[in-house]
Symmetry: C2
């Protein structure tokens, strides 16, 4: 199956922050190997592409399944309401494509260990 991974970040008025997401996306693409036909990114607001645009690009490129991955730390309104609403707009137009939202980053099991790694990386 042609599967696409779409990393969704908040988006920023600061272009360097949006660029940081694009660089992250390249690193994820490199690590993903052939698990996904494509790995791309989209933004909830303040930057392009939007989430519906990002999903449409995946579908235009042949994706039969799109996995939307919220690059967020908190299970707040953006993760619980806004992203599902944006996804639904596109799902409605493409009932034959499976679009699912993966757990947001902040809820990942490995976060505490990674925080301790952050401290160690810089240790004197």
């Amino acid at each position: 199956m042609n599967r696409a991974l779409l990393i969704v970040a908040h988006g920023s008025r600061r272009e360097a922050s949006n660029e940081e997401i694009r660089r992250l996306t390249e690193r994820v693409r490199a690590e993903a190997g052939d698990s996904y036909h494509s790995v791309s990114c989209a933004y909830l607001e303040l930057a392009d592409p939007s989430i519906p645009e990002g999903i449409e690009r995946c579908i235009s490129a042949g994706a039969q399944e799109v996995v939307v991955l919220p690059y967020f730390l908190s299970a707040g309104r953006h993760v619980s309401l806004d992203i599902p609403q944006e996804v639904e707009k596109t799902q409605h137009k493409h009932p034959g494509v499976k679009i699912r939202i993966a757990p947001y980053l902040g809820g990942a099991e490995g976060i505490p260990g990674m925080l301790l790694d952050c401290v160690m990386e810089d240790r004197d």
Copy 2:
């Protein structure tokens, strides 16, 4: 040496998000073992304790070194300017205490791998 780890999050008007940080802090404390005399959290804005308050509590409890860990995904203004400014306020009052800021979470080497783990955790 008595070392304290202070996890710094943005802070939210939504109390559940602040509570999520406190729960995360407990998990980090459990994983840290005896590496740190204390593991606590503080907020840049919108919630208590503030960063200066959080650092003062560590020092009052005997910390000789405080490691401030920014729980942020982007190297934006908060990470590059606001957190260092808040830290400096307290460092100025306690020149004998070593206060250092660890790399922010979003810059961690392991983030791409963890994002792929997020997708796998929920996979059908």
